[in-house]
């Protein structure tokens, strides 16, 4: 129980807020907006600014003299082009694999399974997220190794696993991001009314026709939400590729070595702009397909 004056204060301010919805909104939003502005806008600006600075090779200090050298290096360097293409290729492949696997699972969860099975499946999909990212990546390292589970499984049919390298990276990343793709698609499919499917069937459409003309168009925004997850997460990943990627490196590794080994923050910042530009490009592309407008 609080004392009378402060209780009066509380009541007065509550009454004031109740009659002033705008003030209420401002108070609620100010904290998250400040956070967003600081962490998002300011950090992005700092990143851009750092990319225009240079580092003194002898003492390792950053000297704030303006130069476009870092950006020029990143745009014209053959190394950065190769690694960018490789990274985008891996991200696209992971996204396609994840969507192909996630669609039937999500459809089954949303439209076919009984409510009880549905709950169990949601738990099953979420379960891998409870384990640490590193544990899962190292688990794949041991599965894909020379005397690992995969080689043991395929040896009887005379095959050999891919070993460490880009294929291993794609497999591991597809596994890691699958829940992030299944969940939005599942949520989107759940919103598709069953009556539409029934109507389509009643009008004589075979299942594949219902799927392609009714379900897919309605689920497209959800699928795109899923692809944004898998694409952007793959684009920024550098740990999986160090664990199972053999000698391959991705954009994240270049950023990492430039911050760590090379102590060249400006160049690292310039490289970090590449995935940001790609993601903005991807979002713009998604916008152009009209998927975002349908929402």
């Amino acid at each position: 129980m609080t004392t009378a004056p402060s209780a009066g204060m509380t009541r007065r301010s509550a009454a004031y807020l109740a009659t002033h919805p705008r003030v209420r909104l401002a108070l609620i939003l100010s904290a998250p907006l400040t956070w967003l502005a600081l962490v998002y806008v300011v950090a992005l600006a700092l990143l851009l600014v750092t990319a225009l600075w240079t580092v003194d090779g002898f003492t390792g200090q950053i000297s704030p003299t303006w130069t476009l050298d870092n950006l020029r290096t990143v745009v014209t360097g053959a190394l950065y082009r190769t690694v960018t293409l490789r990274t985008v290729g891996v991200a696209l492949l992971v996204t396609v694999i994840d969507v192909v696997i996630a669609l039937p699972i999500a459809f089954y969860m949303a439209k076919v399974a009984s409510p009880r099975a549905q709950r169990l499946l949601v738990i099953a999909v979420l379960m891998p997220l409870w384990a640490s990212y590193l544990v899962k990546a190292y688990a794949w390292r041991s599965v894909l190794s020379q005397d690992g589970l995969l080689n043991w499984l395929v040896a009887p049919v005379g095959l050999q696993g891919p070993g460490y390298g880009l294929p291993a990276t794609v497999i591991t990343l597809s596994y890691l991001w699958l829940p992030y793709v299944i969940l939005p698609i599942y949520a989107g499919l759940e919103k598709v009314p069953n009556s539409l499917l029934e109507a389509s069937a009643d009008l004589g459409a075979p299942p594949w026709r219902t799927l392609s003309s009714v379900v897919l168009p309605l689920a497209l925004p959800a699928i795109i939400a899923g692809t944004i997850f898998s694409f952007s997460l793959s684009l920024g990943d550098y740990i999986t590729v160090t664990i199972v990627g053999g000698t391959s490196q991705m954009l994240g590794n270049l950023v990492y070595t430039n911050v760590g080994a090379a102590n060249n923050l400006p160049l690292a910042a310039a490289i970090a702009l590449v995935p940001i530009v790609i993601i903005f490009g991807y979002l713009a592309l998604v916008r152009r397909t009209g998927a975002l407008d349908n929402l």
């Binding site: 990143l47 002898f58 390792g60 390292r141 949520a187 944004i228 490196q249 090379a262 060249n264 979002l283």
Partner: protein, 393 residues
């Protein structure tokens, strides 16, 4: 569809937030501080009561990681200097942390020491004030990585070589030369491993010293543009045969155990772990010699507790403590007496000057050639890093 809209927005917001958080962490700028000439101390005063130490993991153990591993508590009781310590993961991180001026003492490897000296972060050390210094192996004193112009900048701690390890079942006959990972690497294609750091370029340069004498490489850490290009070409030719590069020693232990790697560079401590597990591997110091590391305890030029710092340098170099610390890390100790407190000195070839002379200790490549040439400019560490990224492609 409303829910999906908000999902999508949430997704986009989360992603951007994550990206920018990552960006923010890479944006720290360090305060500028130019090299200042500092004088070594001539006498010791009263200890200050505390000392702050920056070191590799496993170098400053006070029993909090493992109750049986503790050589800090006795130091605190004996000198009255309370120790606060911080560990670092890479030499570059150590340099950035030293620039803050928050640490009195640092344990630095040879690929960091010259950069610390050049940046004015550390001060010359008066070894007369450190009684334990006398017992240290002569071949570790006054070397290119721990002294400049005859002035000692620290006390040697421990050392080791980057050896050639091979799977005894697969690699026959036993190799005696680094050619098994360079010119003849194709017979073990996909199963060769190498150390994942720009400093590995020195391993290629060391190989070229013997096999391409016409390049005129005298020191693998002093490469001019032509010599660096030759080393880079060698490493680019090696890359298709490399299964994976390693920088985490546990990763190498695992890949040799599983057979994913069968030949490549290693440390003695890795061989010791593998032998304990019964994995069929062996190590050799190849005929060309090898690169290696020799760590040095240095004192910050901005040290707030210089007397406690000297006390620590003396303590950590004293035979029993040095034996404990180097045994825990898995490297050779810095003095013969330390071997009386260790039973594995033989395995690490401690004090074997002949063995030690075959080791080219990690030294920071700088523009002023460390082999003494003055007619050319050498390639510096920044160039090595760029080259290393290019090699990995």
């Amino acid at each position: 569809m409303l829910r999906t809209t908000s999902t999508l927005r949430a997704v986009t917001a989360t992603i951007t937030a994550l990206l920018t958080t990552a960006a923010l962490t890479s944006c720290g700028t360090t305060a500028a501080s130019g090299p200042e000439p500092t004088q070594e101390q001539t006498s010791l005063g009263k200890t200050e009561g505390s000392v702050s130490i920056l070191a590799w993991p496993g170098y400053v153990e006070d029993g909090s990681n493992d109750p049986t591993v503790d050589w800090v508590s006795d130091f605190e009781t004996k000198t009255g200097c309370t120790v606060t310590s911080k560990t670092y993961g890479t030499s570059d991180e150590a340099i950035n942390l030293m620039k803050t001026g928050d640490y009195d003492v640092v344990a630095a490897s040879g690929d960091a020491t010259l950069r610390l000296i050049a940046g004015g972060e550390v001060t010359p050390v008066n070894t007369d004030l450190i009684p334990s210094y006398a017992g240290i192996f002569d071949f570790l004193k006054n070397q290119a990585w721990n002294s400049v112009d005859g002035k000692a900048y620290g006390v040697p701690h421990g050392y080791g070589a980057n050896l050639l390890m091979y799977n005894t079942d697969v690699v026959t006959p036993p190799p005696t030369s680094w050619s098994v990972v360079f010119d003849d690497a194709s017979q073990y294609a996909g199963k060769v491993t190498a150390y994942d750091s720009p400093i590995y370029i020195a391993d290629a340069a060391l190989y070229l010293m013997t096999h391409k004498p016409e390049l005129g490489i005298k020191n693998p850490y002093a490469l001019d543009d032509t010599q660096l290009a030759a080393a880079v070409d060698l490493l680019k030719a090696q890359r298709p045969n490399v299964g994976e590069y390693w920088s985490d020693y546990l990763k190498e232990i695992q890949s040799f155990t599983s057979g994913d790697s069968v030949v490549g560079t290693t440390w003695q401590v890795i061989q010791n772990s593998l032998a304990k597990e019964g994995v069929k591997t062996a190590v050799v110091l190849p005929e060309e010699g090898a690169t290696g590391w020799s760590d040095t305890w240095m004192i910050s030029s901005k040290a707030k507790s210089p007397n406690c710092s000297y006390a620590w340098l003396d303590w950590i170099a004293s035979p029993e403590v040095n034996a404990k610390a180097t045994a825990y890390f898995g490297e050779a100790p810095s003095s013969q007496e330390a071997c009386t407190f260790r039973d594995d000195c033989e395995a690490f070839h401690a004090g074997d000057a002949e063995y030690a002379s075959k080791i080219w200790y990690w030294t920071t490549p700088v523009a002023k050639c460390v082999d003494g040439r003055t007619d050319v400019t050498c390639t510096d560490y920044a160039k090595w890093t760029a080259a290393w990224q290019e090699i990995k492609g």
